[in-house]
């Protein structure tokens, strides 16, 4: 690998400032959100003083904790299944050429296009007709469906234009398709997989209309719970829970970063 610093692309005008702007843009509301989780006032939008109380309120709110846990369970399961299905589909769609390929693309994009409320009512009707009992499982199924296009598109973008000769050479070397896949294809695909999986994960964390309809009694997720609160007004309790979710994500990222380093 070349030393990137020496490359003139590094100093392409406007790139670094735009990236800096984008990261500031992404994190500015997050700082505000965290700041207001320490707000003493019951109304989230009026600052009156500093307190840690909302964290203990949030941690003692068993309904909300249950909802947050459900959210994490649903998001990680749906992401896992959707990403696997997406990897396989993307491999097939970029390596092979067959008739009706456009139709397959359209079907995979379907969950993106249909408005949430329609998917929600349709899926609920469908579950009731085929007699599946509503619960956390139905939420996971429904989330998996619409996570697939979010995982699929980045992975396909990654695969497109990749040099197939690398894999061909490898399969000549190993002659074992599984090893070729593990040693060559997967590492090559990794940025696409990671991107797709992260997008699937965050979209699952945010979806509430579908969840709301297909969740069984007691299978509420965090967005459904929070959506329920805003009619009256969001309390800093919700900010506190969001900050805790951030903490979980940062812990997760740090751990995976450290694991990655140790293995090097």
């Amino acid at each position: 690998m070349l030393k990137r610093r020496g490359n003139p692309l590094w100093r392409f005008p406007g790139v670094a400032p735009t990236a800096a702007f984008v990261f500031a843009y992404l994190y500015l509301p997050i700082f505000i959100l965290i700041a207001f989780s320490f707000n003493e006032n019951r109304l989230a939008t009026i600052w009156t003083g500093f307190t840690f109380d909302w964290y203990s309120v949030a941690l003692n709110n068993s309904d909300m904790i249950r909802a947050a846990r459900n959210s994490l369970i649903v998001a990680s399961s749906a992401t896992f299944i959707a990403t696997l299905a997406a990897i396989m589909a993307a491999l097939c769609m970029t390596r092979e050429r067959f008739r009706r390929q456009q139709a397959v693309n359209a079907v995979i994009a379907l969950p993106l296009i249909v408005p949430e409320i329609v998917t929600a009512v349709a899926t609920l009707l469908f579950f009731v007709i085929i007699g599946i009992r509503l619960g956390l499982l139905t939420v996971i199924i429904a989330h998996t469906v619409f996570c697939i296009p979010f995982a699929y598109l980045p992975i396909r973008a990654r695969l497109q234009g990749m040099d197939p000769r690398l894999e061909e050479a490898a399969s000549d070397l190993y002659a074992d398709p599984w090893r070729t896949f593990r040693r060559i294809t997967l590492p090559l695909l990794w940025p696409g997989i990671l991107s797709g999986a992260m997008l699937a994960f965050i979209i699952s964390l945010d979806t509430f209309v579908i969840t709301y309809f297909v969740a069984g009694a007691g299978a509420t997720t965090l967005p459904v719970y929070i959506f329920g609160m805003i009619r009256i007004g969001i309390t800093p309790e919700v900010n506190a829970v969001s900050a805790l979710m951030l903490l979980i994500s940062i812990t997760f990222v740090t751990l995976s970063f450290l694991v990655g380093r140790m293995r090097r």
């Binding site: 959100l33 899926t123 980045p154 973008a157 997008l199 990222v253």
Partner: protein, 297 residues
């Protein structure tokens, strides 16, 4: 690699899971909804099974006047057009700032790059509504942005930012930015800098290198990102409601309302199918234009 049969088997094994999940849990329910859209609405909501009518589709373009004649009604078309425009501008802005960001990420040393992927998505572990509330705090008259502008002496009194189309744009772009950045990054990350070096050695300028090497490489990512931003923002309704003040309806609110206060399921379903048809048509036209199927060397 294998004969025709083996190839077919492999193809169905690979495509199977995705197509099964979507086919069974999305396509079938959708057929059900297609049927709902041609049913009579129920008196108290829901539908009357077995009573057919195309009223819901007629209603999209026409209404009945006092004499019960059909007259053209463009209310719904206007709402559709507005949503398309908003989604389009969101996509363009996200692309304009997302592409350089993805490019920047792909130029970082290998061990930082995965961390950057996480960094782009960490803010979205919080909640959609809470993030929108944070934007309200930032954008309101007494908010941080107005405060900053005044402190800098750029304005003497608060500028109305909240409850304007500007606020909706800021909020929507924010919500969908990762969906633009990450696919572009995924396709850009495989950039071979030796190619760029070689181009420079041959006397290419920066812009030429960008146009000839970087952009073509980013193209699949740009296409994927645009789909992931454009289509979901078409149906977005939380952000237009919270940051835009809901003074103007979007497709999302319109359809949502049909299953809510209006209790008119067939019309809600019909609106969804009109939207579906329009988007699929747009995708087909797009695919036809770029016929050279990607992925083929």
């Amino acid at each position: 690699m294998g004969g025709g049969m083996g190839r077919l088997l492999r193809r169905s094994l690979l495509l199977g899971p995705a197509l099964f999940i979507i086919g069974f849990f999305m396509l079938l329910p959708l057929f059900l909804m297609g049927y709902v859209s041609i049913l009579e609405r129920g008196m108290a909501g829901g539908v009357q099974w077995g009573q057919h009518t195309v009223e819901a589709y007629v209603r999209f373009l026409f209404e009945r006047d006092l004499m019960d004649n059909l007259v053209v009604n463009i209310d719904y078309l206007r709402i559709f057009a507005r949503s398309f425009l908003l989604a389009l501008s969101t996509t363009i802005i996200a692309l304009l700032i997302g592409l350089p960001t993805a490019f920047y990420m792909s130029l970082q040393p290998a061990r930082w790059r995965n961390l950057l992927i996480f960094l782009v998505t960490i803010p979205f572990w919080t909640n959609l509504l809470v993030r929108n509330y944070a934007w309200i705090l930032l954008l309101r008259d007494s908010g941080l942005i107005n405060g900053g502008l005044q402190w800098l002496g750029l304005s003497s009194e608060p500028i109305r930012l909240l409850y304007t189309p500007f606020a909706v744009g800021v909020g929507l772009t924010y919500s969908f930015l990762p969906f633009m950045i990450l696919p572009i990054y995924a396709s850009l990350e495989k950039i071979d800098l030796r190619l760029v070096e070689a181009a420079y050695d041959l006397g290419a300028s920066k812009w030429q290198a960008l146009r000839r090497i970087v952009l073509p490489l980013a193209m699949p990512g740009i296409a994927a990102g645009s789909i992931l931003v454009f289509i979901p923002s078409l149906g977005a309704y939380v952000t237009p409601e919270l940051l835009g003040g809901s003074r103007q309806l979007m497709i999302g609110n319109l359809i949502q309302g049909q299953f809510g206060a209006a209790r008119n399921w067939p019309f809600g379903a019909a609106l969804a199918f009109v939207l579906l048809a329009l988007v699929l048509l747009a995708m087909m036209l797009y695919a036809r234009r770029y016929r050279r199927a990607p992925g083929q060397a």
